[in-house]
Amino acid sequence: MDTNQIHSRLEKKFGSAIIALEEVKADPYIEVSADKIFDICKYLHEDSELLFDSLVCLSGVHYLPTHKRANGVVVEKPLFEIVYHFFSYSHKHKLTMKAVVSLDDPKIQSVEKIWKGAQWLERETYDMFGIKFIGNSDLRRILCPDDWEGWPLKKDYVTQEMYKHMRVPM
């Protein structure tokens, strides 16, 4: 099944929670509302037609007002985008799904209960962007030291001057 069929199938099941199907250069994706992410992922995992048994990649993206999103829409309000890439070994089809979260309170439900590998991917996204995944059993920084200031991969990130007794910038 390609992305359009999956989109129509999801639309039948979840209706308004599925925001849009974007036919973008190279890889089309489905945009989903952030608060229903857990039910949609559970459905993607269990439905006999879809059977997405592997969460390949989970990445965060940070947009500032002047930046252009993948579908060409210029962003007015700064936002976070959480991108899920799924793959199904049995049906051999893949899916890209995005959820948008506002900057002031970046919260989304964790999908760790469905795919155990998601715990570390979510921890890395939290470490890099500060997006809190509710329900993640061990939400700590994974790459940077635990007492690191700021979220490094945000576009407006400024490196801290000193860490303990070491000068960080050149």
Partner: protein, 182 residues
């Protein structure tokens, strides 16, 4: 940083021991013997961080055999090593560990900063917020080996340079010569 016993060393390029006031034939020959033994068996400390570690392993491997210089015995514990080859990118999370490991090494200890990353941050100096711009910000470095990654021969040349520097030092003269005590 721990107070390191001052390695009494003259200019490494200067010919051996010209300008030491107290030229005692016994002490200098003892020094030469000690330095010959020490520089002939520099035991490096397996401290592979990144890509340079693979080239360091290749230096230990049969083609560029490091054992010909007595430096092939890679010790895993800092207690038994006297040369720390910092091979790879030093991140800030790792820097605190490097300090502790360097402090645990017994006193006549040397550091070779292998590769551009360990020397000055290398290709990660501009946007590497988590990269320490040079290991000499936390520990004193004796020899810098350039390259990204340096060839195994370049590392061997660096170790030979270190051996030349070690053979210039005078531990025995420093400890027992009268000039020092006066």
């Amino acid at each position: 940083m721990p107070q390191i016993m001052k390695k009494m060393i003259d200019d490494p390029n200067a010919p051996y021991g010209e300008h030491i006031e107290d030229q005692n034939i016994l002490l200098t020959t003892l020094d030469k013997l000690l330095n010959w033994a020490r520089s002939g068996s520099v035991w490096p400390f397996t401290f592979g961080l990144a890509c340079c570690a693979i080239e360091m392993m290749a230096t230990g491997a049969p083609k560029f055999d490091l054992d010909r210089f007595g430096a092939g015995v890679f010790r895993a514990t800092p207690r038994q090593a006297d040369l720390m080859i910092v091979a790879g990118t030093v991140t800030i999370k790792m820097a605190t560990r490097i300090e502790r490991l360097f402090a645990q090494m017994p006193e006549p200890k040397y550091v070779i900063s292998m590769g551009a990353c360990a020397t000055n941050g290398g290709p990660y100096w501009q946007h590497g917020y988590h990269v320490l711009k040079g290991v000499d910000r936390v520990i004193p470095v004796d020899v810098y080996v350039p390259g990204c990654p340096p060839r195994p021969e370049a590392l061997i040349e660096g170790i030979m340079l270190l051996q030349k520097k070690m053979s210039q030092e005078r531990w025995v003269t420093q400890k027992y010569s009268k000039a020092q005590k006066a």
